[in-house]
Amino acid sequence: MKIIKAPLCGEDIAELKMGEEVLIEGVIYVARDAAHKKMVQSIRAGEDLPFDPQGQVIYYAGPCPAPPGRVIGSVGPTTSGRMDAYAPLFIERGLKAMIGKGPRDKGVIESMQKHGAVYLAAVGGAGAYLAQRVMAADIVAYPDLGPEALLKLTVKDFPCIVAIDSQGNDIYTRINATDK
């Protein structure tokens, strides 16, 4: 299976095709609703973000607390559609991949095509399995947000499928439009 090393460079992106199963290795950032809202407030105020999105991967998730002896609790993907309003602002700033679950809207897909980014689906509801693929976890910003804090993870063999590629091919359009 293809391994994607995070952060990514431009060449890797174009090669990733819709439907391809991949394993992610490297550093990714975790952010969901509240962290996105705060980061977008910073962008609009002209302030620096807690991390530079250039070449990076954002994982839409909010983990369980880490039990003793573990780096993180259960950590599966959350529904990506809630971040659609925010995602283009990050893609414009160099974000190369998003990991989540469920479809994305037209605005996100167009931005991905324009700037060269991919959307990867992880297995929703497999939080315990995915937690075992996380080697390290650190809070980068917004600890006050609890489960919604901005985190930096080091992952290995983290399984995903390319749901929408940088050419705009969208796996979610496989769904039959009509009932048989």
Binding site: P67, S74, A126, G127, P159, D179
Partner: protein, 280 residues
């Protein structure tokens, strides 16, 4: 009259929320295994394998199956001949959740107000339904449900002329619009009849029925079978990525209704629909 100290209820709920969040119900595990043996799309099979492996890891490591450990609904069947002592029932339920979510390293996902949105920090309050029943039993059903699936439920107040076909079309519309968001393979809970809130409660009650257990009414059992076939033919598939496995079960519950009404509610449960029953 039988006396029950409310602290016993707190303790039972604390244990139950941890168990519910870490151990996949056997009926769902079995249904997932059957789905895996029948799935024709390779990527869907990989994801089903991961889902089944996730359940093993969660049980062995005592970790949450899913990081969204949910908003907890607690249904209490309270015998009329039970006397609760030592405090208030609702406070005892919330104390149990507070203790269980802390002790089990479960995520706290509840905000204080829909507009203010400040995390309450202990996953309370729960949604509590109390039913008075005959006798001296005390049965507690703990049902933590994540928002991924919960946000995809819908309710319609149909015209009675819409009839059976109207209800079937509405079920398909809800499932189609939900797509991959509710974490398929899903369980489809359908409540038909009553009024607005009764239909919603019936849909939730339908999710509590075990996968594979048909409606006792033959015509409804047939409708459940037909809807399961039609939903799986939509091709939404595991996690919305296509394939043969969109739903594991369609469960339909009904209630008498008004001459002018045909309420129908559809609630979707994810592939780790967690529910546990405790008798005290």
């Amino acid at each position: 009259m039988r006396e029950v100290h409310v602290d016993n209820i707190s303790q039972a709920i604390a244990v139950a929320v941890i168990e519910a969040n870490t151990i996949l119900p056997g009926d769902i595990r079995d249904a997932l295994q059957v789905a895996l043996s029948q799935e024709s799309l390779a990527s869907a099979s990989s994801f089903l394998q991961i889902i089944l492996e996730n359940a093993q890891i969660a049980a062995c490591e005592k970790m949450a199956l899913c990081q969204d450990t949910g908003l907890v609904t607690v249904n209490i069947e309270l015998g009329q001949e039970v006397h609760l002592v030592g405090g208030k029932l609702e406070e005892a339920v919330n104390q149990g959740i507070r203790d269980g979510y802390q002790r089990g390293y479960l995520r706290k996902s509840i905000v204080n107000d829909p507009f203010e949105r400040i995390n309450t920090g202990d996953n309370t309050p729960a949604i509590i339904h109390i039913h008075l029943v005959a006798g001296d039993c005390l049965r507690v059903t703990v049902f933590p449900k994540g928002a991924g699936s919960e946000n995809m439920g819908q309710l319609a107040m149909l015209k009675p002329s819409a009839g059976l076909e109207g209800v079937k079309e509405f079920i398909l519309k809800v499932v189609r619009e939900a797509g991959g968001n509710p974490c398929p393979p899903i369980i489809v809970g359908v409540g038909v009849g009553g009024n607005m809130e009764k239909a919603a409660l019936l849909a939730k009650q339908a999710l509590l029925r075990k996968v594979g257990q048909k409606s006792p009414r033959p015509e409804l059992a047939d409708m459940e079978k037909e809807m399961l076939r039609r939903i799986n033919a939509l091709g939404i598939g595991v996690q919305g990525l296509g394939g043969d496995t969109t739903a594991l079960a369609v469960n339909i519950e009904t209630y008498p209704t008004h001459i002018a009404s045909l309420p129908v509610a559809v609630s979707l449960g994810c592939h780790c629909t967690r529910r546990i029953i405790v008798d005290l």
